[in-house]
């Protein structure tokens, strides 16, 4: 009962708008046991993956060793070796790191572009909004996965960076649309009008006045996007259009399962990567969903 009362008070003050918004997001995560466990898991996994990968020698891991092909888990190789005699455990650790890093990079790149696009469309409205939305509509009807694959295949001098860029270029639309509709509401509020009459420039109003007020929506959307991007990146690497094979990634490990022998008899090569992708995605999503509930006062668990 007391908890409920606290909630009512919060609603009156509209917590997402007050400076303590971030603190409320944090509180909601702590209250939601599943999200808390997920967050702790993510912290532990990233810390251990990053420290272990510092110790591991990547060149040593990706070196082909024909005397140790497809070995089952043993004391020397905790998760055995793959068809090139490479240590699966080492690849799993470095692969997890790479997958997380590229997921974060793509999420940030597409997020920054999408947020700027949405804010500008929503803030100016009218013809500018109309024109920008047509561009967005067009991008959104494109066959995303296929175009990324084609671009990856035809780009000369293919690197991780060009992969991230291609990926981001086709995945900014969702967040842009969301931010735009929020910005359309926000710009009608009087503090925006006030800034306009006080001589503040449009870019300053958009990014210094308006953006902080929709920061919680941005954080929530980016978190949920991160979960998706980890999955999409793994899928593309699985098909052979993500990380090059010399750079370990979870999707690449999983793609060894395309060999029926490996799939049927050597689970230690692909199953850990599959579990890792799944658990990472679920954990990030749990955190994102808890954040979303926190920003929506009606759904808060309290």
């Amino acid at each position: 009962m007391e908890m409920n009362n606290i909630n009512v008070v919060d609603q009156v003050h509209d917590p997402t708008k007050s400076p303590s918004g971030l603190r409320i997001l944090w509180k909601e995560i702590v209250r939601d046991k599943l999200a808390l466990v997920s967050l702790i898991f993510l912290i532990v996994i990233s810390l251990s993956v990053f420290t272990i990968s510092l110790v591991l020698d990547q060149d040593e891991i990706v070196k082909v060793d024909l005397f140790a092909i497809n070995e089952p888990p043993s004391e020397e190789f905790i998760l055995g070796t793959d068809y090139g005699g490479r240590d699966v455990f080492g690849q799993l650790i470095i692969g997890t790191r790479n997958t997380m890093l590229i997921g974060i990079a793509v999420t940030l790149m597409s997020g920054i572009f999408g947020v700027a696009f949405g804010l500008i469309a929503g803030y100016f409205g009218g013809h500018i909004d109309n024109a920008l939305m047509r561009v967005l509509d067009f991008f959104q009807i494109l066959p995303f996965t296929m175009l990324v694959i084609v671009f990856v295949a035809i780009v000369p001098k293919y690197t991780i960076f060009s992969f991230a860029l291609i990926f981001a270029a086709f995945s900014w639309m969702g967040i842009a649309r969301l931010i735009r509709s929020k910005a359309l509401q926000e710009k009608e509020l009087e503090y925006i009008k006030a800034s306009q009459t006080l001589g503040t420039s449009h870019p300053k109003i958009i990014f210094r006045e308006m953006m902080p007020n929709i920061s919680s929506l941005i954080i929530v959307t980016m978190t949920l996007n991160l979960a998706n991007n980890i999955g999409i990146e793994s899928g593309l690497s699985f098909l052979g259009f993500g990380f090059p094979e010399t750079t370990p990634s979870l999707g690449t490990l999983l793609s060894y399962a395309m060999n029926p022998q490996t799939l049927e008899h050597r689970w230690w090569i692909w199953a850990p990567a599959a579990v890792m992708i799944l658990v990472l995605m679920l954990a990030v999503r749990n955190v994102g969903e808890a954040l979303r509930r926190a920003t929506d006062a009606r759904q808060r668990r309290g």
């Binding site: 708008k17 007050s18 400076p19 009087e190 503090y191 006030a194 009459t197 006080l198 503040t200 007020n213």
Partner: protein, 310 residues
Amino acid sequence: MAILEVTNLKVYFPIKAGIFNRTVDYVRAVDGVSFVLEEGKTYGLVGESGSGKTTTGRAIIGLEKVTEGKIVFQGKDITKKRARTRELNRNMQMIFQDPYSSLNPKKRVLDIVAEPLRNYEHLSKKQEKMRVQELLELVGLSPESILKYPHEFSGGQRQRIGIARAIALKPKLIIADEPVSALDVSVQAQVLNFMKDIQKELGLTYLFISHDLGIVKHMCDEIAIMYKGRHVEQGTKEDIFERPQHIYTKRLVAAIPEINPRHREKQFQFRKEVEKEYDAAYDDYFNKDGLAYQLQKISDTHLVALPEKG
């Protein structure tokens, strides 16, 4: 001396429809309004919601696009957005209706009040802080509160922050859009009297937009009554309250609550009479579209919207 001259101002909003989203009609929010503001005076713009009074104010300060007409501020034509120089913009400021949404909730009082200063004056951090503290003191808030956030203040205090922000640049004209309608009645008088005080102190001119005739009577020197985008009557405070000519004005004046209980019965009778007259004479005062006629001069200061004679 006239600080602001508005001539035949029109603000239309398009209504779009059809397959290609063509403009099929307009909402005539402001439909040919003219008035002159004298420096140091308070000009009241009164009307029910939807009468176009707020749109008029917003068009003057540049928040709405002017469809037609002319706005001259300090002798310069500012009808077009591009003609508004920074210097002119600085001399015209606005106090907003809603003290809750007009202050950015993510910013500290210091940043809110200093926003106009940062745009126009290049002060050092220390000077800026001092100016903000002075301003807060001027509006009756503690100078220590500069590091607080808007949600830590009451509605009346928030409106004072909004006023401090509006006067920070020492403007000549302030457009006050229903500055007290969101406040408790007990706080309203406080804020209004305070606005009068700083008017004297800084030599401000107010365009005071309100739906409350009582408040307008307390604040304004000249008053215009608006109805459906047009002025139905304008004149000095005495013209409007002592000698209302238009039936719409009469009805509004009659609706002001009477405080003295002994006069209540009389007031009630009077109101009934006015209501009867309003129903009977409606067609004489409004054209077939239900809009007000052109203004006719009936004295040097007093204009009323009446059908042309003959």
